[in-house]
Symmetry: D2
Subunit: 334 residues, 4 copies
């Protein structure tokens, strides 16, 4: 019997999770919600995905456009075992009561506070913690990126200082700026460090900056080691870490642009780069300090986590069984 999955919010994250669900043999996509009949809604229909209004208030928009919906979120909730909340940050908390009322499990995204769920989740770090849970939060794209590489070396970590250079808006978000400025989060440490600690206990502090680009975030990471580790050790560890890939400037990966071009060359859907990209040349150990630079594809790195979270919450697969299954289904390279 397949797990019946609904998606609340069919935007950047929601449409990717929906796609990923259709690639799983143990899950079934029951429907998605939209607030308006835009091209994404029409595309969902073309794909045969049942579309629901995110709430009654939006029904007139669909009627006006002659776009037939299957009902509203509440109707969808009656048909699913679990709902993946991919609504804008902060709304998940409000939606939670609807999910509780309907008695369905729910996954929230990183835009929500940790308190919204029983567990903050990154599959390779704490899959087991989500076993059987009703409410799980898949952490943000940046936090997921930090956890993937730091978890792999956590036994060596005494302290981490990570500087995040963030893309200002997603490729199809034309409302947000800046167009020509650098915008710091002036409070240091920023909130990203504590967010990592909701998944793994690690001593980390961060600062964050928004810059005028749309394609990827970049992290400059400095680790103070408590045990000796060589550059070669780290390369070896990352080469054996799932959902982390090493890229060489030597081969033309000079910026985030070539990383996205790599995903395009692979014909990845939406040029998704589910894996965290670490520049091989950037990995360096000086004294007790390890340095490396990684890039995060904000639109897609959390997608496999959503799929694994579903399996954990229904206890239908062991950690590595689920991760391998998800990786294979999405063409994740390792």
């Amino acid at each position: 019997m397949k797990i019946k999955v609904g998606i609340n919010g069919y935007g950047t994250i929601g449409k990717r999770v929906a796609y990923a669900v259709t690639k799983q043999d143990d899950m079934e996509l029951i429907g998605v919600t939209k607030t308006k009949p835009d091209f994404e809604a029409y595309r969902a229909k073309e794909l045969g995905i049942p579309v629901y209004a995110a709430s009654e208030e939006f029904l007139p928009r669909f009627e006006k456009a002659g776009f037939e919906v299957e009902g509203t979120l509440n109707d969808l909730l009656e048909k699913v075992d679990i709902i993946v909340d991919a609504t804008p940050g902060g709304m998940g908390e409000k939606n939670k009561q609807l999910y509780e009322k309907a008695g369905v499990k729910a996954i929230f995204q990183g835009g929500e506070k940790a308190e919204v769920a029983q567990v903050s989740f990154v599959a390779q770090a704490n899959y087991e913690a989500a076993l059987g849970k009703d409410y799980v939060r898949v952490v943000s794209c940046n936090t997921t990126g930090l956890v993937r590489t730091l978890n792999a070396i956590k036994d060596y970590v005494d302290y981490v200082y990570a500087v995040m250079i963030r893309r200002a808006a997603d490729p199809n978000d034309i409302k947000r700026g800046p167009i020509n400025a650098i915008k710091p989060s002036v409070t240091i440490p920023s909130h990203h460090g504590p967010d990592v600690q909701t998944v793994i206990p690690i001593n980390i502090e961060t600062s964050a900056f928004v810059v005028p680009t749309t394609i990827m975030h970049v992290h400059s990471i400095m680790v103070e080691l408590k045990k000796p580790l060589t550059r070669e050790d780290v390369i070896d560890i990352f080469e054996n870490t799932t959902r982390v890939l090493l890229f060489e400037k030597e081969k033309g990966f000079e910026s985030t642009a070539q990383l996205i071009e790599f995903a395009r060359d692979l014909h990845r859907e939406w040029n998704n780069l589910y894996e965290i990209a670490v520049w091989k040349e950037s990995i360096n150990v000086k004294g007790n300090r390890l340095f490396y630079i990684q890039a995060v594809h904000q639109e897609s790195d959390v997608i496999p986590e959503n799929i694994d979270a579903i399996r954990a919450m229904f206890e239908i697969a062991e950690k590595w069984e689920s991760i391998k299954k998800t990786n294979k289904s999405l063409g994740i390279l390792k």
Copy 2:
């Protein structure tokens, strides 16, 4: 017997033409050339595409990297019936003598002067002109875009004034600016008008501006009509024109960003939008003037033209047979 195709230059255009060739049942991809062993070269190898050095001078680069090549361009030329020259603008002219010496047909891109070939080509406009020819030039992305829509209404056109707002660099080209300026081609009319006239005889003048974006060009077109035409007529004509699609702002297509998002939602390889995108709401007739706005995906709109040109040059298909075949193979919507 399939036509043996080689590609000289495996970059933005070359890799897309190579992909398109592999989708044709009457063509065979023999090999591609590279000047250096970058990630695109490694990707070609992964795909089983024989890689050749663009010339002897580049061999050391490949040796140094331990990247085995099948030989050089001259070796490739011995094995093919036709070579698609996808080298940087202006180099095709220099390469032509090699192609002549090898006695292979050749297709050049829009970066070359019209004189390099016997015909300047846009399939739906002048397929027949390329029948049996040895040297054909597929015109630039912008010229192809102008020809596709203007050819459909050419019987009504007295005069065209088109303003081209051009993307400054391709997504994976990080060398070029500007970052925060608008750069006009100060000579008006610009060279784009005469380039259209190498394909269809039409009275057109153009001006061009470079702006800091990487994803698409946009054209603001004004046509002085010699015969009455209504807005509805034009919509009807464009709806029945191959490789032209109408998009509605109403459905969320507010900018070039959503057009690319549409191609990503279709899971098009490299988010190719082979079709010229016309904003339906922009089509308007006032008195004897027709206005419309279109967008051009500079990385991909010329790809189907390269495929059709091959068929025409070997006379293995009639115009519409080839266009339909190409469209079907690439998932072009109409």
Copy 3:
């Protein structure tokens, strides 16, 4: 006796008008309003400019910051002969009743509908129309730019088609995008043509596009002539047109970036380029069509118009007397 001027809204336009007023020997700056105690408010204080709260509702913000204000807009209105409304587009209409109640004359900016005022104004085109009026609207930066050059050749103009390539946000506005897209105003003709007609009767149609730059707008202008005019004639006319300057690509003016650099080299306050910049090489006549390209500094080209409008409304100077006075006071080159 000097005219007592107040400024409602001390932002991009307001602070420049305030500065310009202080440069006039027949005007006196009585005060400006702010909605919050930001660095612009502190700067005004440093300059000895009385600062008022834009309305009572904002008083707490100033109190909280310990920033002493002179009162509110209503207090300012009691002390002035005229108020320059430099509030965000659309608010001027709401504010008008306050100005009427206070019995002060008012100048509105181009963000307001023409109906808000008795006259839409560009000094060199229709100064006389504003003589003695109580409510005048200084038209938008783009409309002002179009009127300045078109008015100079209006006797030759049969029809104008202008394409406007607009900066997406001002340099210090970091909220607005797009970061990497071109956004058309899909309705053609756009509203800019009719706005020109509120100042001069001319047959004009326009289209407009927003691009990711912050420094200047650019216009591509095509004029159908009803009387013969040569390239040299146009150069001669523009060289003799106030607030219009010719720039040569030959001398390094390749884009809007060098135009701003020119204003910086002049040590213009805020790098203001009050003059409309026309590329000399772009001026060209083919048959009965005249082409030229101009750039508009959206932050400053309307400033001299606000000063001249004040003089006209109080009938204290003839047209050219005022224009010359304003030009001299602001260092406008001609």
Copy 4:
């Protein structure tokens, strides 16, 4: 007797140094060199600054344009006591022999290797080291920024890790990208740390990233303290450090855009922000780690250093006498 100063290279840095020299009562600007007669050259002439060709090879360009030069660099060298080399990075080293041959002192910029000069210089850190020297290198904009704040707290510094988010191109440089990508210097630590050590002995490591903006660099600085220091101490120290200013987000300084707007509001020539801008809210101490964020105006922060270096090299002023003189002449706030 005033010191006779020549400037080799009248671009972004050269024209600002030339302006600064004219503001000093103990220096005289003898002339500047240009490689072509662009608008900057014409501006110099308007200002009455003698213009020389950077070398004989460029004379034809000036003749062709009918731009009269005073001679070539060699002619200028005969008339000056010191030459400020503001040529593109790396050229200074080649020019040095000309300066030696002419027997004039020379100042080089940060684009040169430290070896080109006897001292690498930041006035407030090591003015005395330049006393009487013949060859001094004013370090780069980024290094100057790091030295200004770190020198003020150096007694407390055990280790510094600074991440530099760099503007990709200057405002009037339209050739360089990227337009939509983040480009890391993949080698960590980057070369910026050792460059700081050419001025002050401090244990520092850095990483650097290029982003698509033109106006300022931003540094995220983490300091490991060897002696206790509170947030209040640091604020107090920076408030008493010359050429360093504290800015509050609270007052609207949300990004680099508002910092430049502040300089524009001050009517600084070319919106120069000679001072290093530190966000007050970003200063924070956690345990033995101090964090702060600063922004650097790459076009102007090194200008006062060039002026002070001249005084030191001719031993005509003590350290603080020179710094105060320079600050006063340029309107540096403290």
